[in-house]
């Protein structure tokens, strides 16, 4: 399943409690539209960490990264492109 579909499914199941795809627009602000409440954001962070194997730094938990399916997809994709640690390339050469 693609990254945006996985995110969509998680939001629909865990915050909107439905499988009705029409209930969630990809650009809908989770907070503005009351989809995710303030403690829900932390659940969302745990979800992306576990599902995509990325580590979210506290200072990255911002509306620009997390507040819609679109933004979260962009953020996750960018994180997946990051080298896992600084020496990754050197290791690959070996």
């Amino acid at each position: 399943m693609s990254i945006p579909s996985q995110i969509r499914r998680y939001i629909l199941e865990n915050f909107l409690f439905t499988d009705d795809e029409t209930r969630l627009r990809d650009d809908a602000s989770f907070l503005e539209e009351g989809i995710v409440d303030s403690t829900g954001v932390l659940e969302l962070v745990m979800f992306v960490e576990e599902t995509f194997g990325i580590e979210v730094a506290d200072e990255e938990i911002l509306p620009e990264n997390f507040d819609s399916v679109e933004r979260l997809t962009r953020y996750v994709e960018a994180k997946l492109r990051e080298p896992v640690f600084a020496g990754a390339e050197a290791v690959a050469v070996w």
């Binding site: 199941e13 409690f17 409440d37 303030s38 829900g40 200072e59 990255e60 911002l62």
Partner: protein, 520 residues
């Protein structure tokens, strides 16, 4: 003289016209600008028939428009009522009918809600819509810009005096029905003055408010800042703690009012990327902060004055712990706020001494007027005092005091749940659950939670052959309850434990069941 709540804005607009009063959504508004917009709104409301003492409902997220609407309603001789942006429309209708609101301000994207409320609330005359609308052609009301644009910027004449009501603040009661606490201008002027005194606020203070303006703790940040002429940084929520911390750094914020959930979130974070040196004080109220969290906050913010406080909407604030006492009495919520007194009584009305647990009773000019249109509930909480017309507030909370008169919260007398700093009446959630087909019996309790303080949990017994999933239950709850009142967990049971008199035994539900938890 500052006799009326809107004088806070008017006097600051005279003293500091060009000073930034409000930072919100990337906008910076000066006192003069807010004063002018509030004047325009007041004229607009009066021109459309608003009468002295009429209720003006503000159903907006934290925003500049919400601040303008609050002061505009007062300048129009009205009474403002702020409603939480996450309150479901059905409940908003009940509240608007309870206070027979004449005017409503809400976001234009909620046009459908506006249409529904125009049908459901007969008293509603004026509906004003803020912001962008999906289909501007057929708006079910007036546009905010049009109302303000057509009205003069001058201060309208105002006949209000300080015994008139300034606001109704709706709060959860144990019956589950929302109750509107009536505050006069004199109540608010007194309470804000007392709190500003012990927080030692000056015009140099920059306060960040992440709490909803529908909540008295959030609302009073706006009112107090405008009174002392400071700057308010208004945020939607604290859903993104890093964004809040960045704002504190950018705006050089000096005051952070928080609730235990916010502090629990901060304590889990790496704070090193942020420069928080501008913070002068932090406050906590709404629910008890664990002593361990206080200790850790002290260690991480050694330069900050930390105020542990306690209060309830019915009198705004009861007590505060002077920061210099924090290390000596970390579990205490302190002494009565300046100009007020409290004592502790047993069931027979006898005043108790140090170490004895009883109900906390409050006396002072901050004791509000009771609940709108609810004499029964009012008589239960507000009882006659020493002099005619004086009322005492019976808090319904159990306390004791130490030898020096410092207060310690023990427990609530009722079963209200405090989650994320918000009050949830189990009965309100239970009534919503009973409306779900197939549900036979329910009990809603608060279970301890590291972040939320208490988390709402629902125990449900289904009818024979009924298959409900936790998702079915939660979807139904989301449609009928505020977000914080939606249960965090659902447990299905074959039956619920009963007391000898046949009532559901909540205490037994809070201890783990012998047969182990069900699904969910």
């Amino acid at each position: 003289m500052m006799r009326l709540v809107h004088h806070f804005l008017e006097q600051s607009a005279e003293r500091f016209p060009d000073k930034v009063a409000l930072v919100c959504d990337g906008r910076r508004l000066t006192y003069a600008e807010i004063e002018e917009q509030a004047n325009r709104l007041a004229h607009g409301l009066r021109a459309r028939g608003l009468q002295r003492g009429d209720r003006v409902a503000v159903w907006l997220p934290n925003s500049a428009e919400a601040a303008v609407a609050i002061f505009g309603a007062l300048k129009a001789e009205g009474i403002f009522v702020v409603l939480n942006a996450t309150t479901p429309t059905g409940k908003v209708a009940r509240i608007l009918n309870n206070c027979t609101a004449s005017a409503l301000v809400l976001p234009a994207r909620q046009s459908e809600d506006a249409r529904f409320l125009q049908q459901a609330v007969p008293s509603l005359g004026t509906v004003i819509l803020c912001g962008d609308a999906p289909s501007p052609a057929e708006l079910p009301g007036l546009r905010w810009e049009d109302v303000l644009g057509a009205a003069p910027p001058t201060r309208p004449p105002c006949r209000t005096i300080d015994v008139d009501l300034a606001c109704l603040i709706y709060t959860s009661g144990s019956t589950g029905d929302p109750k509107g606490v009536m505050s006069t201008h004199a109540n608010v002027v007194f309470a804000t003055g007392s709190i500003i005194q012990y927080l030692e606020n000056t015009p140099e203070d920059i306060v960040i408010n992440v709490l909803p303006l529908s909540f008295d703790y959030g609302l009073y940040q706006l009112l107090m800042v405008f009174r002392f002429g400071g700057t308010l940084v208004l945020e939607r929520s604290f859903a993104y703690p890093a964004a809040v911390l960045r704002r504190i750094e950018e705006e050089r914020v000096t005051g952070l009012p928080g609730v235990p959930t916010l502090y629990a979130m901060l304590l889990q974070m790496n704070l090193s990327p942020f420069d928080l040196s501008s913070l002068r004080y932090m406050t906590n109220t709404a629910a008890t902060l664990p002593v361990e969290h206080i200790r850790r906050l002290r260690a991480r913010f050694p330069w900050v004055r930390f105020y542990s406080m306690y209060g309830l909407t019915e009198c705004k604030r009861v007590c505060y712990l002077p920061p210099e006492e924090l290390d000596r009495r970390p579990g205490s919520v302190g002494i009565p706020i300046p100009g007020t007194e409290v004592w502790i009584e047993d069931e027979s009305g006898r005043r108790l001494g140090p170490g004895e647990v009883g109900e906390l009773v409050v006396r002072g000019s901050h004791v509000m007027q009771g609940y709108w249109n609810d004499p029964e509930e009012t008589a239960r909480r507000y009882r006659p005092g020493r002099y005619p017309a004086e009322r005492l507030l019976y808090t319904g909370d159990l306390f004791y005091m130490d030898e020096d008169g410092f207060l310690y919260f023990v427990a609530r007398k009722d079963d209200i749940i405090k989650t994320r700093g918000e009050k949830v009446a189990p009965r309100e959630v239970e009534e919503v659950l009973y409306r779900l087909p197939g549900v036979v019996e329910v009990a809603v309790v608060g279970v301890p939670d590291e972040i939320l303080g208490q988390a709402v949990k629902a125990f449900i017994v289904c009818g024979n052959g009924v298959r409900l999933t936790p998702q079915d239950v939660l979807r139904h709850c989301r449609a009928h309850l505020e977000d914080f009142a939606v249960p965090r967990s659902v447990e299905f049971r074959e039956s619920l434990p009963k007391t000898p008199s046949g009532k559901i035994d909540r205490r037994a539900l809070l201890t783990p069941s012998p047969e182990g938890p069900g699904e969910g």
